[in-house]
Amino acid sequence: MASSLMGGVFAIGFLIAWWDPHPKLILTLAIGLSCGMLLLGPYAAAALYTTKLQQVWHGHLRWPLCLILAVSSVVLLDAFLHWSTPQLVLAATVASVGTVFGHDASLAVLELRGSAGRVDPWMVGLFPALVGLAALAGYCSLGFAIGAYQVTRAFVG
């Protein structure tokens, strides 16, 4: 699943480079995913379970609460940074996905710490960063491919 996820993020980065090469969108994607996983997801998990809100509505409340948390954070940032509509939509989407990932990743870490399993701290810290870097790699690969094509074409004449 890790390779599929990385491949998917890489492909999205590539498509963004194709669609709008301005770095603001790709940075939104990379930073949104990484921050969603590293900050919003753990925060959502902590907020949900310390306030015991998951008891409400047979536990189904955790999905809307996670999404509201992610989207409201993006809207709050937008109030300061004044993003364009595509950037705002992209930021809300990736922050929501990142929050869902970060939430379940946080629970996995807590379970591993609470049981006989040992947590790999490097993987916990690096995985969210690697997901963001995969998006950047996809973005850069289009430029690299075009550059390589131009160089080859210049040599060949």
Partner: protein
């Protein structure tokens, strides 16, 4: 206090693997059983009885109306071994015991269980009348869940059973895991004869396809009482998932040492009301997950599962080697087996006499005892237990973040 690894090392020093049992006609090419024998037997039989035997002699098990708890009332003057994943059968929802435990003489207690029949409601105060085997497919999943998370997630067990019944083509209107034994009942009866219990045998390592299922008891009498369940829980896997491959003997030979190694990082689990009677520890390392019940420094019951994926070899390729091993081991330990036969016959007489004298020392209570502290605690725990947004995602991160 000795660790589980120390107890296992001490216990395994006196154990050896016997001649492999297999079907030479290759009707069952994906199962080989290696019986486990002690190198000597103590003269005294155990003062413990299995749950099946105890139920015949007055032990009552009743439904508390709580999915994760069953009440046990032991009026006998001896301890009762409730085995990991024993399935409790009665006119109520079927339950599988979470982990092995010892119920002390004269004790009323609640034992932790999981529901293995999602479509059947609980019936308060209904009596469980019998025990049955649990397929290793579910047992190994439960062991892994317990060792990883310290608890079994009920919804995952139901999902697992549903998938299992679907894969094996078993139809059950109530999603009853035992329906698989009805589905393959004739084959189970026929093929059980290939793997007879040997005198003095205390356990077995069953190689089924690319898995090893290990079950060892402290005393041969307890294995004898439970052998049908032990065998059926592995055999049903071989029948339900037919392949031409089986794990080779090279993977089996070192498995006891691997269990000792895996048990170094173990975790104690206990029922609140049985905290003072034996200690159950669960462990998980690499491809091994298991649990061991230790009482007074002695191993009472060990169950473990080892995945040997990628190591399976065609049965027909291994057949000459297996035949050679069978004759070599039988020849090498011929004196020991003869001695075990004599010793076990003597012990059995004493054990049967002990069983005959076993009568309830009091009448059993009609009303199920509910461990109220545990009930409140479990309700609170369930209510506040973090739930993942996606089970698949959660499993993915558990695998990714485990060192």
């Amino acid at each position: 206090m000795a660790t589980l690894a120390d107890t296992l090392r001490h216990s395994f020093e006196d154990l050896l693997l016997g001649p492999p049992q297999f079907d030479p006609t290759a009707n069952l090419p994906n199962m080989v059983v290696y019986p486990v024998f002690p190198t000597h037997l103590a003269p005294d039989p155990p003062d413990v009885v299995s749950l099946t035997e105890a139920m015949r002699r007055g032990v009552r098990l009743s439904d508390t109306g709580i999915v994760t708890q069953v009440h046990i009332d032991n009026p006998l003057p001896t301890a009762v071994l409730v085995g990991e994943s024993d399935i409790l059968v009665g006119p109520t929802q079927l339950r599988a015991v979470q982990f092995s435990c010892l119920v002390p003489p004269g004790r009323r207690a609640s034992i932790p269980v999981n529901c293995v029949e999602a479509g059947q409601p609980t019936v308060y105060q209904a009596q469980f009348t019998d025990t049955a085997a649990c397929p290793w497919y579910l047992r190994s999943f439960k062991l892994e869940q317990l060792s990883r998370h310290g608890d079994n997630h009920q919804h995952r067990i139901w999902d697992r059973i549903k998938a299992y019944l679907h894969h094996t083509g078993t139809v059950s209107s109530t999603q009853d895991v035992c329906a698989v034994f009805d589905q393959f009942g004739d084959d189970l009866d026929d093929l059980s004869r290939v793997f007879p219990l040997q005198p003095g045998q205390v356990g077995c390592v069953s190689a089924v396809g690319q898995d090893l299922f290990i079950e060892i008891f402290g005393d041969p009498e307890i294995l004898e009482e439970r052998y049908d369940q032990v065998l059926h829980s592995a055999l049903v896997e071989a029948i339900a998932h037919p392949t031409r491959e089986v794990t080779p003997a090279s993977q089996v030979d070192g498995v006891l040492d691997e269990l000792i190694d895996a048990s170094r990082s173990s975790k104690v689990v206990h029922s609140r009301s049985l905290r003072d009677s034996g200690r159950t520890q669960i462990f998980n390392k690499g491809a091994i997950a298991g649990s061991g019940l230790v009482s007074e420094g002695r191993l009472v019951h060990l169950t473990a599962h080892k995945r040997c994926w990628g190591f399976g070899r065609a049965f027909h390729e291994q057949l000459p080697e297996l035949k050679h091993q069978r004759s070599e081991r039988a020849k090498e330990h011929a004196d020991l087996f003869a001695q075990l036969d004599d010793d076990y016959t003597r012990r059995c007489k004493r054990y049967r006499s002990f069983l005959r004298k076993l009568t309830p020392s009091r009448t059993t209570s009609a009303k199920p005892y509910v461990d109220t502290v545990s009930k409140d605690d479990s309700t609170e725990r369930l209510a506040t237990e973090p739930l993942p947004l996606s089970n698949d995602l959660h499993e993915f991160f558990l695998r990714l973040f485990r060192r």
